[in-house]
Assembly symmetry: C2
Homo-oligomer: 254 residues x 2
């Protein structure tokens, strides 16, 4: 069973948009995932119509009160399960500071009850390699890296690649990584340059599917929907369906 | 002399793009600022052609070795001064954890040598309210909040507004805040909805100038340039010039 951290420390590259719509695409392909929202901004939770729940529910209950993860699962309107986040989660960084053991809490907490379901687990991360994201990376064996088609985002991949290599040495294992280009604008030369540079540097790690810039992807979260329920005929829906198919076919979720 | 934190914990909303191009616009208006890069991603430094400097220079030298800020200033190609960042800066969060005193280091470090120059100080922040950003906020009396014209970014302002109120109560002083809409796309209904909602909620705090989606703004950092040196006739250059004029006229930099 695959545990996938969706991470890039560059902000606003489409981590949440990718988690939301990949989860919806997988559900439509009869492989509904479990999503964990590990970003205190709780944007994935919001897009699933879960506003800051009653205090003490969601991921913060796991970190603070050691509530088993399987007891924190909630349904989303589109049929997959989520453990939501809340602003309180930002206190976890302060709570544990640089305590190395704190970074393994999630890995230890993946109880058999959660993993026995056979569903892929997608973790939406915040744009910072702190205690929360470290928990996601130590609990995962794969990393999906959204990169928006602009220069600063490309720069960020370079640093992320370096950070993952350091982690791999420490853990004595290798991450399967996939890079997916987001906000690709076919009218802009820059988009093609960024995609080519990524292919040059990272080769087969780069998904063939590119997610194009599409208004429906920016709008659907406002209605508490994924792009398939909001605008099934949109280019955004077609792109995320193609991404799910490409990753399923390559065994990324096995 | 104004100290301005450019912050929004939502990632990818145009904090760095705004710092870079506002600094260039102010320089052209004969009010060259000093910029402090407080983001370990060091994207503002990169856009000014400063790659990770020799270890121990830049902001990390201030936090680690207490080197006076005025000794760390460097020239940028467009004529204003910067104290650059580096990846090492990300260790500051771990170094100081939740030590409340650590958050006041920058405020205490603003030596007369730096402030006597009369130049406005712009601080580019990372997308996380940790020790580094807390340093920026405690050293500032104004906050410039870029908000990209999309729903998740709008949501973030709500939470940021709450966090600033808490900080204001603790400090016993009020921040002058300005919100600037970025990546405004005149072809998208969503852009107008976001701008209207911001005006409804935050009134006069919202700048009249909107920064439109413009390829030159995404491309100029790739060439180590601000938008004025890269494409002076572009809509991006015109928008940031208008923003600088609006903020200068309202005394935001006094
Ligand atoms: N393909 C796309 N087309 C149009 N808009 C997009 C696309 N992908 C993302 N966006 C928009 O860009 C914004 C940033 O995306 P998103 O919030 O998913 O990024 P993120 O990496 O999760 O950000 P953060 O670093 O804050 O967690 C979103 O508000 C979304 O509206
Ligand atoms: N008005 C604009 N038009 C087109 N592209 C833009 C505009 N503003 C920002 N961008 C692009 O969006 C990306 C994100 O902007 P930027 O990096 O400045 O945001 P940020 O808030 O500093 O991100 P982070 O949270 O990672 O620090 C940039 O790579 C830039 O290319
Ligand atoms: Mg996100
Ligand atoms: Mg930035």
């Amino acid at each position: 069973m695959a545990v996938i951290a969706v991470f890039n420390q560059k902000g606003g590259v489409g981590k949440t948009t990718t988690c939301l719509n990949l989860a919806a695409a997988l559900t439509r392909a009869k492989r509904p995932p479990i999503t964990l929202d590990l970003d205190p901004q709780a944007h994935l939770s919001l897009a699933c119509r879960i506003r800051d729940g009653a205090l003490g529910t969601g991921m913060v209950a796991f970190f603070k009160n050691k509530t088993p993860l399987s007891q924190l699962l909630r349904d989303t309107p589109s049929g997959w399960k989520i453990i939501p986040s809340s602003l309180e989660l930002s206190k976890v960084d302060a709570l544990y500071g640089s305590d190395a053991k704190a970074a393994t809490l999630l890995r230890q907490g993946l109880d058999p009850d959660l993993t026995a379901r056979g569903a892929p687990i997608l973790i939406d991360c915040c744009p910072m390699l702190g205690v929360l994201t470290l928990n996601a990376l130590l609990a995962s064996d794969r990393v999906l890296i959204p990169v928006s088609a602009d220069f600063l985002s490309l720069e960020g991949v370079h640093k992320l690649d370096g950070a993952l290599r350091v982690l791999e040495k420490k853990l004595g294992r290798i991450y399967r990584q996939r890079i997916v280009v987001t906000r690709f604008d076919p009218r802009r030369k820059l988009s093609y340059e960024i995609y080519e540079k990524l292919k040059e540097r990272y080769g087969a790690r780069v998904c063939n599917t590119r997610i194009c810039e599409n208004a429906a992807l920016a709008t659907s979260p406002m209605h508490g929907q994924d792009v398939f329920s909001y605008a099934e005929q949109s280019a955004g829906a077609a792109d995320y369906k193609a991404l799910a198919q490409e990753l399923l076919a390559s065994g990324f979720f096995e």
